[in-house]
Symmetry: C2
Subunit: 352 residues, 2 copies
């Protein structure tokens, strides 16, 4: 699996519409997704997958340069439901199709059913005429990060959670990651971001910004439940080395101030039995780590927070050759994720 | 618009499933479509568009080399609902998106609604990243044939039918065909094939097989209602010239013996108010003219009729450089069309 900073053929996204995830019939979130797609498409081809009933609306709202294709889905988290793309030494790109159980199956009940989500990787691979591996492992793309040189970053909270692969040992899971992603070394962090609905996806907590270098969401507030989580991750990372044996360099990026869902926001959501209830007052798992690396750009969340500028400056330092672009992403965060969660890079491959 | 015999980038099809068109839940027709796709895909890339609920079934039934993409539709007639592809002198291919009213709108009521069909050209163009012209004319792809050199062949019965473009004069329609297809000369034949549900699509009656050469469905039986229709077409063609002023050479291909829908076949269909009833005993508009020209092959209908072999021999003479492949197509004919109706060629373009 190439690192996210390796050249992309393009970026895949899915269109938000479900009324129990996205308030006001999805309209505010759609505007945020449009802004993200518009910015990313300045740097690489963006393909937006849409349910049939939203094709015309999405086509009308998106810039013409964004490709809009029919791609039925239960929700818009392309990072988690989409394929993971891998490339061999000859540059041939293939898709890995993980098993998906909507972040924890029926016991978790983020939503039900997730039958359309399960077909997303196959449909993406078909459109691109790419071969596809069906990996026997329940896994979401947001629960892994790689450096493209053999190192994988993940949380124990998520990958070892009994609601994903209860029958598999840690060694067994590590073997499958090695088999399907070509990694040789895994850095395990204990837990993800506080209040994250994904059981601690790595992509909201910590990511590679280069070989041997990671960025970690941080807070100086010892009273915040996130403090302990970031601190223990920092300790693990400080003691860790990558696949090449190089010690990790860790950059802290201070999180935005704690945010909660407002009464007005919660009132815009359908409340249904078959999906998680998102009540007013719910803590939102805001983090600047949930950015997307495009060809030549960093597409990062902005929250209208006093920390926005410091985070942007830090990312500009970490990616000196890329333009850092902020997207007002509160509407995406209200749905439970952020820019990395709604994107999936397709690496540039050899021309067949 | 290039001639159908010009090199193709590929072939588009749609998957049959509606229970009021295709008997026994579509299963026999699906097998016929699979056979057609399998044969065509030996010569050029085939993309099969499917409704979301048939993705897995179609993927499982089709050979791996056929690309299966989600493409919602009301029925499987890609020739009529799909785009017409055109190319400019630089080899840039674009899609023409005609208006579609399901072969005659509400007064005809082949089926209702046809909202998904109307979006097929846009979705095909999006997948291929092709620009698209929205043509202000109700027209189906099966109602026109071109020689790629400025000549268009059509029937007055269909193109001038008041259920298509009642507000437009013949001259107005001719102008629009000239504008969108780049044709300069139209050969009008009076009527299409007897019992054809399309109000006389040209593609079941007569087609170009080369510049200045056409094949025409024929019967020697003066008692058959088709006789008069073919004879009047023959007379028109014999007096006609193409855009270059060259007289037309006409090859007759004798039609299969008259066929009707059996009691058993009719019993396999849902009978619903919102679609045309297809009763037992209905005459089927069988014709060998409804073949598809693939790169290096002719994909032709077979009916298990005594005329099958003569038709195949004739097509082999007319296309000496192509392999002639017969498909048992009764199940497609039962739905109201044949191989040309379920395919749409995408011309090979310049590499951008």
């Amino acid at each position: 699996m190439p690192a996210e900073w390796a050249p992309h053929a393009g970026c895949w996204m899915l269109w938000p519409q479900r009324r129990d995830t996205w308030r006001n019939g999805g309209k505010p979130a759609q505007r945020a997704f449009v802004e993200a797609a518009a910015q990313i498409s300045r740097f690489e081809r963006v393909t937006m997958g849409v349910n049939p009933d939203q094709f015309e609306n999405a086509r009308a709202m998106l810039p013409a340069r964004v490709r809009v294709v029919e791609l039925s889905n239960n929700d818009a988290w392309m990072r988690d439901t989409g394929p993971t793309f891998v490339a061999n030494d000859a540059g041939v790109v293939r898709a890995v199709d993980w098993q998906f159980n909507a972040w924890g199956g029926l016991q978790k009940m983020v939503y039900f059913p997730w039958d359309l989500d399960e077909l997303v990787p196959a449909k993406v691979a078909e459109i691109e005429s790419l071969d596809r591996y069906q990996a026997p492992l329940v896994l979401e793309g947001g629960s892994i990060h790689v450096d493209g040189r053999g190192t994988l970053l993940a949380t124990e909270q998520c990958l070892l959670h009994p609601n994903r692969n209860p029958e598999r040992s840690k060694a067994d899971i590590e073997q499958r990651l090695a088999d399907y992603l070509g990694v040789s070394h895994i850095i395990w962090l204990p837990r993800g971001v506080y209040a994250d609905e994904t059981d601690g996806h790595i992509d909201n907590l910590c990511c590679f910004t280069g070989p041997g270098v990671v960025a970690l969401t941080w807070t100086d507030d010892r009273g915040d439940p996130q403090y302990e989580r970031s601190a223990e991750a920092f300790d693990r990372l400080s003691a860790a080395a990558d696949a090449a044996g190089k010690p990790m360099q860790v950059h802290k990026i201070h999180q935005p101030d704690p945010m909660t869902m407002t009464e007005d926001e919660a009132a815009g959501l359908d409340v249904v039995d078959r999906a998680k209830h998102r009540p007013c007052g719910k803590r939102l798992a805001g983090s600047y780590i949930n950015f997307y690396i495009a060809n030549g750009a960093i597409i990062m969340p902005r929250f209208g927070d006093r920390r926005d500028e410091a985070a942007a400056r830090k990312l500009a330092q970490l990616f000196p050759d890329r333009e850092v672009i902020g997207i007002d992403s509160r509407e995406i965060l209200l749905g439970g994720g952020n820019l990395h969660c709604i994107t999936q890079q397709q690496p540039a491959g050899a021309v067949p």
